[in-house]
């Protein structure tokens, strides 16, 4: 408990906002930058984690547990999303032997 009071005093909330914003921007950069679909999934996970970190920080600074419950739900949805997404990627890889997003043009035209 003394540790918690300590962090509330020495680390301002702004720092957590900055770290989360930077992490989210890195995730966006990864989604735009990479061609491999699995790496793009990883970058989506980074973005989800930046939002989780921000929710936990706000919940601690406001002394409110609801934010942490929300983070728990986000984690469950993220786990479901990764399982289904990777299953789709495995199916795609089995059909066209590639997970390069520039090769996934079957719906175009």
């Amino acid at each position: 408990m003394s540790l918690l009071l300590n962090i509330l005093q020495v680390v301002p909330m702004q720092y957590y906002l900055m770290v989360s914003a930077a992490l989210f921007s890195i995730g966006v950069l990864g989604v735009l930058f990479r061609r491999n679909a699995i790496t793009i999934f990883m970058c989506v996970e980074i973005m989800l984690n930046s939002i989780n970190l921000l929710l936990v920080a706000f919940s601690t600074y406001h002394n409110d547990s609801n934010g942490q419950v929300f983070v728990f739900f986000v984690m469950a949805v993220a786990a479901a999303e990764v399982a289904v997404g990777l299953a789709i990627l495995v199916t795609i890889f089995r059909n066209i032997r590639s997970v390069d997003i520039d090769d996934l043009k079957a719906l175009k035209n």
């Binding site: 540790l3 790496t39 728990f72």
Partner: protein, 171 residues
């Protein structure tokens, strides 16, 4: 500079550098390893913010389940770094510029905002499993049950999607 402050800066540095290395490393296996370190440092942030329940759930779900899924899929596909090509230069420059502009907008908006935070006495241990369990099973009972249905549906969907289709032989 106190110990907590040093912990915060070190964890933030590791988080951001590992996230950047996830994006920039060519080999997807290295990306996954850097992502693992990034998740571990975010777990450290949770511990620093006194959210013990989320710390444990984060370790189990991300480092345990999601990273195993990623690594298994990567090894199943056997992707080498020679096979991956980069996007054209114009697309890469556009991606960097777009991400930098997004970061700039977020950071400038945050630095202009005056946060109104209540005085936290720290009397209640909000991150404890006991407190969160009571909230989860009282106020958030129905969402909690729906999440279990969602996970069951996702599990069935993943199994159905990856199952090989057998040809039905009609006699």
């Amino acid at each position: 500079m106190s110990l907590v402050e040093i912990c915060f800066w070190a964890l933030s540095f590791v988080t951001l550098v590992c996230a950047l290395m996830t994006v920039l490393s060519k080999n997807p296996i290295f990306s996954a390893i850097y992502l693992l370190i990034c998740f571990a440092s975010i777990a450290g942030h949770y511990l620093l913010l006194n959210a013990q329940f989320l710390f444990i759930v984060h370790i189990i779900v991300y480092s345990g389940a999601i990273m195993v899924l990623f690594l298994t899929t990567l090894m199943l596909m056997n992707l080498n770094e020679e096979t991956e090509k980069h996007k054209p230069a114009i697309a890469r420059i556009g991606a960097v510029v777009a991400a930098c502009i997004l970061g700039l907008v977020l950071v400038s908006a945050i630095s202009k905002t005056a946060l109104v935070l209540p005085q936290n006495s720290g009397a209640v241990d909000i991150g404890a499993i006991k407190v969160l369990g009571k909230i989860l099973l009282n106020e958030y009972f129905y969402p909690f049950e729906f999440i279990s249905i969602l996970l069951l549906t996702a599990m069935v969907g993943a199994v159905l999607l990856t199952k090989k289709e057998h040809k039905i032989t009609i006699k």
